[in-house]
Symmetry: C2
C-alpha cells in the first residue's frame, strides 16, 4: 500500500510538532540553567514548563543527560558561528584578537551554556568518529588562525583554544579578578602572535 499524499502531510506535521517540542525542551533547559543553575534543571520542572508529562521528555532524549548533551551541542554550533563571524569581519587588523574576544564574550554572556559544553565529555566526545560536526566546525575556526597544515599549526590551535578555555573557566568560577580582563586578552594574543612574525 503506497503512502497517500494525505498520509505524507500528516507525517510531516507530526515531525514538525516533534521538532518544535524538542526545541521547546532545549530552550526551557537553557533558560532555567542560566537563571537558577543546572541543578534546578529537573525533568519534572522541564515537563511542567512544556506542559507535558515526564515520559514525553524521555521519549525525546532518553535521559536527563541526553537533554544536557543536546544543549551542549547547540552551544558548540552557536560558538562556532560566533567565531567564524569574528574571524571573517576582523576589527582592528588582528584576527586572533577578534576571535579571542568573541570566544570570551560567548563564555561570559552564557555561563551556564558554556559550563555544560565542557562538563559532558562522555556523551559529547571529541577526536572520535562520533564527534558531532558542530564541535569540529567550532574547532576548525581556531585552525584557520594558524595557516599551514603542519602539526605545529594544530598544536598552536589547540593551545590557543586551551588558553581561552582556561581564561573563560577561571573567570566563570571567580578565580580571576575581572579587573585585568582586557590586559589579559591583549597579552594572550601577543604571545600567540609571535611565532607568525
Amino acid at each position: 500500500m503506497a503512502t497517500t499524499p494525505a498520509a505524507n502531510r500528516i507525517a510531516e506535521r507530526k515531525l514538525r510538532d516533534k521538532q518544535a517540542r524538542r526545541a521547546q525542551i532545549i530552550s526551557a533547559a537553557r533558560r532555567i540553567a542560566e537563571l537558577d543553575g543546572w541543578s534546578n534543571v529537573t525533568v519534572r520542572r522541564l515537563s511542567d514548563e512544556i506542559s507535558y508529562s515526564q515520559p514525553v521528555l524521555y521519549a525525546h532524549f532518553g535521559s536527563r543527560e541526553g537533554i544536557l548533551a543536546a544543549v551542549a551541542i547547540q552551544g558548540f554550533q552557536e560558538l562556532g558561528l560566533a567565531l567564524e563571524k569574528a574571524r571573517k569581519r576582523v576589527k582592528r587588523g588582528n584576527t586572533a584578537e577578534s576571535v579571542a574576544a568573541a570566544y570570551l564574550e560567548f563564555a561570559a554572556s552564557s555561563p551556564a551554556l558554556y559550563e555544560v559544553m565542557f562538563s559532558l565529555s562522555l556523551s559529547v566526545p571529541f577526536d572520535d568518529p562520533a564527534t558531532p560536526p558542530e564541535l569540529r566546525f567550532a574547532f576548525s575556526q581556531f585552525l584557520e588562525l594558524f595557516p599551514g597544515q603542519s602539526s605545529k599549526a594544530e598544536v598552536l590551535s589547540e593551545l590557543f583554544w586551551a588558553s581561552l578555555h582556561g581564561v573563560a573557566e577561571l573567570t566563570r568560577t571567580k578565580r580571576f579578578p575581572p579587573s585585568r580582563r582586557k590586559e589579559r586578552v591583549r597579552t594572550l594574543v601577543e604571545l600567540f602572535s609571535f611565532p607568525k612574525r
Copy 2:
C-alpha cells in the same frame, strides 16, 4: 574549676579521633571518586565505608558539598607542593617547563581530584578574603615564575595558569588527542619564555 590533666588528655584524644575520622572520610571520598566518579560519592556510601551512620558525616562537614570542598582544598595543597618541588629542583634548565610538566602530571594522575578542585567555585572562592591559604600558595608558585611585581607579571602568571588549566581540562575531557602531548607542553613553554628574553 580548673581542667584536670586527665580531662586534657581526654579532650586531646577526642580531637585526634575526630581528625582521624575526618581524614578517613576525605580519603574515602577521593578513592571512590577516582574509581567510580563523583556521582557515586554518596553520603550513604561514605558512611558505609567508615562504618558510621550518616549524621556523623553531617556533624563533620555540614553537607555533601562540604566534603567535596575539603577534598578540593587538600588537592590545592598537594598541587602547590608539587609545583614548588618542580620549581626548586629544576630539571633541564627551564623552570617554566618543569612546573608545567608537574602541573599536567598532577591533573592527569588524579583526574577526579583535579575535577573537583575546579567545580566548586562558590564554596572554595578565590580572590576573596575567605580564599583558603592552600589556593594562594598554589597560585604563588606561578607568580614566582615571572619575576618583578608589575601587573604584567601577574597577568603572565594568570595566563600561564589558564593555559595549563585549559590543556589539563581539555585533555581530561578527551577533547585533545594524547598523541601530541609532549609537543603541546614544549610549544606552550616556548610561547611563555619569549617575553623574558
